[in-house]
């Protein structure tokens, strides 16, 4: 290939990632819409503000720390000056020790000799926001915005990046030694975010009034379920760009599209996968949840999360079947977490992202074992390798989430005061009513037996009982 062709190739790659980044913004439009819709009227703006400020804190954390972590923690919980992921190939792939992606390096500046670092960085940033937004829904209506921001900076800027360094790079130790395969980040994005959120929920506790004294589970009604469903549909649109950004394309070096492990893949394959997975997930969600609108759409999401690890290699029919049953599993897991484990996950993210993410990691070991896991070293996928990967990533996510939220709890900086929770976070955080033209209707609450009544008395009673 001549020099002009190489240059054109780089520019096309640059444009490809630029537009995936632009479309991935829809994920965050969707997350904000979705979570605001789930919230009760009194908590809408504080919920939306979390999503907006996610961008404000995760982006610099990733710029100043996270991107460097990705390149320098490929070999485990240590910073390696020479991490190169060369394995048996003997070629330096990563250049941690040479200053690459350190914030003051030429690679992180407007460098006309480098068309790609900025767009790669931005694609990673959009993934980082996604991990934060996944946690955001779980903790809404009682977490302090500031506490959420510290936690999301940690998770979105560092923790998931460590997971990516280990299992979502061709130099990661999980890939080189165990053949870990996680094409579209079932484990390293969805699983990590969901399990980190679980660790936080243990310290955060349920919303006041969520559980009754007899072990029953009460439900709060979303203020606008249509908004929530629209938010999910917007998220699904952004998912296509998320998947596309999991591919690498530079014809002069790879000969076409490859996955992040440098194994050949195609945009066509992942388009089959994601579309069939949504279809299977919606169908499964509708069937298993008996037509419940929230779980029908969440079933689509669960289905896609479950097949993302193998989205580059699964057949469309396998994808459809796995997504269908995974939606049912997500529904069952969500109910168990909410009703049996009594963990108040406001949007079911622990189930849809955490459980389904690692379920998807294991599914790959079952349905795609023996596939070449790397284009750099000779290693194949296996169930054992996926199991090791899942165990390492679950431990990383849970303990970091639990410890960080425990520290905030001990500092009395994790949860809003109970009086504020009862009144609504918006009036306390912003000292204004964002719907001045509408009076406040009585907030309903749904008891375990399905009966409804105005929430005020129930919440007041729960507050007094727990004091």
């Amino acid at each position: 290939m001549d020099i002009a062709a190489v240059a054109t190739d780089g520019i096309l790659t640059e444009a490809y990632y630029y537009f995936t980044v632009a479309i991935m913004w829809l994920l965050h439009v969707g997350f904000m819409t979705y979570e605001a819709g789930v919230s009760r009227r009194k908590n809408i703006m504080s919920t939306a503000m979390k999503n907006i400020m996610t961008i404000a804190v995760v982006t610099p954390t990733f710029y100043y720390v996270g991107f460097w972590v990705y390149f320098c923690m490929q070999e485990g919980l240590k910073f390696t000056g020479t991490a190169d992921g060369n394995g048996n190939a003997g070629e330096a792939a990563y250049v941690c020790g040479e200053g690459y992606v350190v914030p003051w390096d030429a690679s992180m500046s407007p460098n006309i000799g480098d068309n790609l670092t900025g767009v790669f960085w931005a694609a990673f940033v959009l993934f980082s926001w996604t991990t934060g937004s996944i946690m955001s829904g779980s903790v809404l209506e009682r977490i302090r915005i500031s506490a959420y921001l510290w936690l999301t900076a940690l998770m979105g800027g560092i923790v998931w990046v460590i997971a990516a360094a280990w299992g979502w790079s061709y130099g990661g130790w999980l890939v080189i030694h165990f053949g870990y395969h996680d094409f579209a980040a079932s484990g390293v994005v969805h699983g990590i975010a969901g399990i980190f959120a679980l660790g936080v929920l243990f310290n955060l506790g349920p919303r006041i009034g969520r559980y009754d004294a007899n072990g029953g589970t009460r439900a709060f009604k979303p203020h606008n379920l249509h908004l929530t469903l629209m938010g999910l549909m917007i998220i699904f649109t952004g998912f296509y760009a998320f998947y596309a950004a999991c591919l690498y394309i530079q014809a002069d070096t790879t000969g076409g599209y490859v996955n992040i492990y440098f194994v050949p893949a195609t945009l066509s394959a992942i388009t089959f996968t994601i579309t069939m997975a949504f279809a299977g997930g919606f169908a499964g969600g509708y069937i298993f949840a008996k037509g419940d609108p929230f779980w029908t759409l969440s079933g689509g999401l669960a289905g896609v999360v479950a097949v993302s690890a193998g989205a580059d290699i699964y057949s469309p029919s396998l994808t459809f079947v796995l997504a269908f049953f995974s939606a049912g599993l997500a529904y069952a897991a969500g109910n168990w977490i909410e009703q049996k484990a009594r963990i108040d996950d406001a949007v079911g993210a622990v189930s849809v992202h955490g459980v389904m993410g690692f379920w998807g990691v294991l599914l790959l070991g079952i349905f795609a074992g023996g596939f070449p896991a790397s284009g750099v070293v000779d290693v194949k996928t296996s169930f054992l390798g996926q199991l090791v990967g899942a165990a390492a990533l679950i431990a990383l996510a849970f303990f970091t989430g639990y410890i960080a939220s425990w520290i905030l709890k001990k500092l009395n900086l994790l949860r809003v005061p109970p009086e504020v929770e009862l009144e609504g976070l918006d009036m306390a955080e912003f000292e204004t009513d964002f719907f001045p033209e509408f009076g406040r209707a009585d907030e309903p609450i749904v008891h375990a037996d399905g009966s409804e009544e105005p929430a005020a008395g129930v919440l007041q009673g729960a507050y007094r009982d727990n004091r």
Binding site: P60, W104, N111, I112, G113, W150, P417, E419, V420, L422
Partner: protein, 70 residues
Amino acid sequence: MNTFPYESFNEAVEAAGGYSTWGAPAGTNGTMVVLALLGIAISVISAVMVTVRENALLDHAADRLAEKYN
């Protein structure tokens, strides 16, 4: 008509090992280090300020609402 001195500019960039803000040789610009440290400091300080401000707001609201809910 092209008026930009592409040839000499490209030579200068190549000699410097890349282009970075303010035109100093890439990767050796002390000012870039200072700017990065400033950015890190602003990130941390703003997060602390958000925490302190929210804490005050919530304390104020809790005091105001205590009578209503107790």
